[in-house]
Symmetry: C2
Subunit: 571 residues, 2 copies
């Protein structure tokens, strides 16, 4: 049984389901449905696809995730960033018509799903660790700007402009006098009401007598309220406003999306990056929520869950999906206890598809654009970006470079550049480790940096501490520094390398230490080590390093070394 | 003055030259000349260029290095690996005739020189640290195999075969019955005599009464002896053997090599890699020799020196050069005191060009091939390769992958793959740091791994030590491990993260620690830190991390934390 649960977690929660959880899951599931419907329709629009595909991308994926995923609260389905990336990937293709576009989106979802499931089988869930927070922050900010740019024409009733981001800004400014006023009215009105409800709605409702929690929940459902109002306004008073239009009724039919080799090749890089970015977001959300209940998330299981969700989206006419932050937070808040929440949400979406399609047709596009734009603004975490910049210039540069390159050259190249740059900066930093000459703090057996503390040193014995694992990229740095210190001390007889912060030694470092010991011996100086950690010592011993040291020894403590080598001063 | 010396070290040694050094420099310079002449001619052949270009590549570069370089013993000029890489770079071009080939080689040298000087100006000398010893070992072994394969036809008098390495082996075996016997005789004879002289010559000469040092020196000059013998044999007894043939007399003329944009573009990757590899070899040799006299080498000055040498080689009809190990070791051994040694060697080469060109024409190609093959065999450091494999599987894999890819796909892609792979492996390793739950060693204030030692722990307080700097690639690993330990302990109230081995914390790690603290607080657990290093503490304080910890504290020592948080057990 346990072996099966590893690959089909649903067996776990279904077999142990407690009746007491049912009311919680039911409430959470319905609440998420009400939040999900407008988001699904809006993000389909963001992806450049008809609105029903957004609902298709919510229905089956929720069931698939409930079967294979592990988080009780993660709500998979259309999310802003992944929809933007889908739009970018489809935009790069030459597609004949909308039908071809829908088919390509479904194929992309299948590819994303296939990629994630493959990663799950290879247990590569931890690969996401290579996308650092600053790179993700920079990417999300750039994505938000791209999302807002893509939605402003719909929001303001402007003619759509193609081209680079800056060209689109210029085009929109030039086209401002062509704005369709009723559209602009509904768009800005929706945005204004959303902002107001979010800012003051809760306090207002509390003032009106609602319990605090209920008031907060009502505010989170404000998009639905706004959409209903906007649809009514548009239908009754502003007939020229663009609306969603005819939505096919009924449930999606299952079909494996067709593909030729050329299309697969063109979509592959996008599929890999959408998979990675969507997965990073999903697992971050799931992990953050799980930790608040002393729970945890298995990245490899999440890979399987989000992979299955994308496969389900692909075979049911949807587009790539991921775990959404706002919906998952809502599910957590109202106490979703098991993945049954997702099953119930899926049921709600099915009901909407079966019964309310005609109503969806009335939604004004500019109100949907307002929802997207506000969601995009929430992606820009200015506070976190500022604190990254203050905390570390290197991290800040990675963040800015990612942001600028995503805007200037595109999403895919921007993310790849950011990841490579952050790896390079890490290696660069660790290739220039902090190295300190240390001396004895009088009256103790502690040895500290001679430049930071009043310490006692020896003319005959030099003690140096290196604050980094020794590996190929920093051995030469160590060699340079050590030889410079030796060259500056004519009376020197011994060098003690203090290894208390050396967590690992690689083959290059071993070779460098060996040749250093030989070269120093030729110059009449003996190299010793001190405070070598257990695992490192095991490896050095296996490699016969003690022989290579010649006269040199490996001391347990720095003080032991100094007392032995210069007993007059330290004995 | 000091500022000028930084960029023209010759001002330093010329202005302080002591007469007592002159005899040493004179002897060393002449000895190196005698060793350099056969090598220069042989490596020109390896590069696929006429023999006089090898001497051109020795003459001016020696003077340029004496002006701009800093090592008194480094002997720049043609070296085996760089000549092989030059041959590979030229082989990839479509060149009309030998004149075009010579011009392209000179252009390549100018490009290598320009690249190195640019690196010097940007002070990027330490970039070479990213080529690890195992990658260099693997590359040199593969280069040696390629060199041997390229010289076997000349050595054995076989028809030359083109194609992939394995095709050339098959072709040579198939052509064995066409071997030209006199050529084969001279080739194998030269190799045999060289091996014998190297193996027993020293002892033989000592036995014959020579002082040990003189005997050792005589052996190092054995290539010259062998070449003279081979030339005499070929001229007097074996007329069918291929010889070098007409060598232009006189000194090289200076000319800036012509270039078009297409040729520059084609040669650029090769120029960068030849520059890097040649520089790594030069600086390793210079550094190893300098350390034996308690001296040191400034990588940025060496960049300038080797860069100037390559520019000089390019404008005087030579090809790319580097510092040679065998010649530099000889110069060191006979006591070269200043860069004047190089000037004297250059004078010797000029004399050879002016007076002995007709004699060079008589050298049999198969004897030169024997010298190259034996030099190549010395590049394969089997002992070091075995010890790398034994010491670290990861390093061993990098070494093997580099070796195999250089042989299978080419020199450039092989080196790049090796470097990237070794960086990736380092990051991978540091992304999965050693994390230990620690407890108190009874009777002490030491805290050690609960799985390695008999220690005392608390049900209410968990102490974890992480043995790595915290950065984006391992924060999730830490988070996973920490949350798993917390999830497994129902009574837990406090977590103490022991940071004694944390040398750095980046923005991602800060964000993770902050959200960890919040999530744990929601779960009723307080996060504390202990033994945070000074520089890390400074950064955390600047970022206001102490506020983010909430109830949590930052303790000086692990024991202090345990005694405060669980006084009943540890107080």
């Amino acid at each position: 049984m346990n072996r099966w649960i590893a690959w089909l977690p649903a067996l776990g929660w279904v077999s142990t389901y407690r009746g007491a959880d049912l009311p919680k899951d039911l409430v959470a599931g319905l609440m998420v449905t009400v939040m999900l419907v407008p988001q699904a329709v809006a993000y389909a629009m963001l992806a450049g696809l008809p609105p029903h595909t957004g609902l298709y991308a919510a229905l089956l994926p929720l069931l698939a995730y409930a079967l294979f995923g592990s988080s009780p609260t993660l709500s998979v389905g259309p999310v802003a960033v992944v929809s933007l990336m889908t739009a970018a990937a489809l935009g790069a293709l030459e597609l004949a018509d909308e039908q071809a576009r829908i088919a390509a989106a479904a194929l992309l979802a299948v590819m994303v799903g296939g990629f994630l499931v493959t990663m799950a089988v290879l247990r590569l869930g931890l690969v996401v660790r290579f996308i650092s927070h600053p790179v993700l922050n920079g990417f999300l900010a750039a994505a938000a700007i791209l999302i807002i740019l893509s939605q402003l024409p719909a929001l303001l009733g402007l003619p759509a402009v193609q081209g680079e981001p800056y060209e689109r800004v210029i085009g929109m400014i030039a086209g401002l006098d062509e704005a369709h006023l009723p559209t602009l009215l509904i768009g800005l009105g929706s945005a204004g009401v959303l902002l107001l409800l979010r800012g003051f709605g809760g306090r207002l409702l509390e003032f009106a007598g609602l319990p605090q929690q209920l008031a907060t929940l009502a505010v989170q459902l404000s998009p639905l309220i706004v959409l209903v109002l906007a649809a009514w306004l548009a239908a009754a008073w502003l007939p020229g406003v663009n609306v969603v239009g005819a939505v096919p009724e009924g449930l999606p039919t299952l079909a494996w999306p067709s593909a030729d080799a050329e299309l697969l090749r063109q979509l592959l890089p996008a599929a890999v990056l959408i998979g990675l970015v969507g997965f990073v977001e999903s697992v971050s959300v799931a992990q953050a929520l799980a930790a608040r209940r002393r729970g945890r998330v298995e990245p490899d299981r999440e890979l399987l869950g989000t992979g299955a969700a994308n496969l389900a989206a692909g075979v049911s006419g949807g587009f790539p999906v991921a775990g959404g932050l706002s919906r998952s937070a809502l599910a957590f808040q109202v106490g979703a206890a098991t993945p049954l929440t997702g099953v119930i949400t899926a049921g709600g979406i099915a009901l909407v598809l079966l019964l309310f399609s005609p109503l969806l047709a009335l939604l004004p596009l500019s109100a949907l654009a307002a929802i997207i734009v506000l969601a995009a603004v929430a992606l820009i975490d200015l506070k976190s970006m500022l604190s990254v910049w203050r905390f570390s210039r290197a991290d800040g540069i990675c963040m800015l470079v990612t942001l600028v390159i995503v805007l200037a050259l595109g999403i895919e190249i921007g993310i790849v550049t950011g990841v490579l740059l952050s790896l390079l900066m890490f290696v660069w930093r660790s290739s220039r480790p902090h190295i300190a000459v240390v001396g004895q703090v009088p009256g103790t057996e502690h040895y500290r940096n001679i430049f930071r503390h009043e310490v006692r040193t020896s003319r005959r014995v030099l003690a140096m501490r290196v604050d980094e694992s020794l590996y190929f990229a920093n051995t030469r740095w160590l060699e340079d520094h050590l030889l410079a210190e030796v060259a500056a001390r004519a009376d020197l007889e011994h060098v003690v390398l203090v290894c208390s912060a050396v967590n690992d030694i690689d083959a290059s470092a071993l070779e460098t230490l060996t040749s250093l010991a030989e070269a120093l011996a030729d110059a009449g100086v003996t190299l010793h080590l001190a405070e070598v950690k257990g695992p490192v010592m095991d490896r050095l011993r296996r490699a016969g390093f003690e022989d290579a040291l010649g006269e040199g020894r490996i001391f347990l403590s720095t003080h032991g070394a100094m007392a032995t080598l210069d007993p007059e001063t330290f004995g």
